[in-house]
Symmetry: C2
Subunit: 168 residues, 2 copies
DNA sequence: TATTGTTATACTCTATAACTATA
DNA sequence: TATAGTTATAGAGTATAACAATA
């Protein structure tokens, strides 16, 4: 099943070429992806690299990364959640959420409040500061989302969200 | 811009509930994502987690991960590439590719051959063993791709590949 | 000077396992 | 006994910087 490849080795490209018989190909634009072209996972991985880089850059001034943003957003919309509930909802390991919350708590954006019904649990809340900060983060995230729209097109972005809705 | 939220707190769900006034919400199905719903990056991240997990599981018997597969495929389709060329084409750090190739070379799937035109470079080739192994990996990867198709639908998968083609 | 492959370091993320205090 | 939060560890993955050999 070696899949008729899109090698397109159009022999004499205008760029540098390891000319004299030695087996070294250097020309990046010339390199075919073969089977990778048909793999959704490959395209999705490359897209995610781009999208996360843009998110990190766009929210660079406020030093908020995608995972931190998702945690803040969910807590903001669902005050009083336990750490387990947040971890499960976002598909984050509970062990990792501990450190994420440590950092967010040190920055006074989130507070852990001991639950009275289950003394093992913490009820998570935004601080007042966290609430106003999140509003700003959301504006920046919306700007990032517009970058995505510019990159792939408004209609395509909508389509994408629809296709992937079952994973959220 | 607090975006009218899809909290849908339909009060009395059939599942357990922190009943008596204490501020603890536990019910995972009840938790709204708020602004995350509108973010392509969030959907893409969740999708990628699923897709990579399925890939790793489907190619578990042969112990090949997505990045290893992409490296083997590109070398197979473009024998003689330098490490820099592979790294650039796949968006991998050249420092990381060193370790990836160390592992693939130890498994006798790939060999580094000193270039005669540029003595700094290695020309990368599959071994005979690597070539037959890759054929098997491709069959398994095709099975994985069918899982994707089953999960999101044939038409949606095609759409996705088209939308994201500019990132490959 | 610049580039290729390499080594090293650090930080993020994922995946576990084990511990404690509760339930 | 099971669960919530925590701590610790190990392996990927990402991002750098620096070095030797070579261009």
């Amino acid at each position: 099943m070696t899949a008729s490849v899109a090698r397109t080795d159009t022999s004499t490209s205008p760029r540098k070429r390891a000319g004299n018989g030695a087996a070294l190909r250097e020309d990046v634009d010339d390199i075919g992806l073969d089977a990778l072209v048909g793999h959704a996972g490959y395209a999705v991985r490359r897209f995610q690299l781009w999208i996360f880089q843009d998110f990190i850059k766009t929210l660079g001034d406020v030093d908020i990364r995608p995972t931190q943003y998702s945690v803040l957003t969910v807590i903001g919309a669902n005050p009083g959640l336990s750490q387990m509930a947040v971890a499960k909802r976002l598909g984050i390991e509970r062990a990792r959420l501990v450190h994420l919350l440590d950092s967010l708590e040190q920055r006074r954006l989130v507070k852990r409040i001991k639950s009275k019904t289950d003394r093992r649990s913490h009820a998570l809340h935004l601080t007042a500061q966290g609430d106003t900060a999140l509003a700003k983060f959301k504006r920046l995230a919306a700007a990032h989302e517009r970058h995505v729209e510019e990159k792939i097109g408004k209609a395509n972005r909508e389509q994408l969200l629809q296709i992937l809705a079952c994973f959220t």
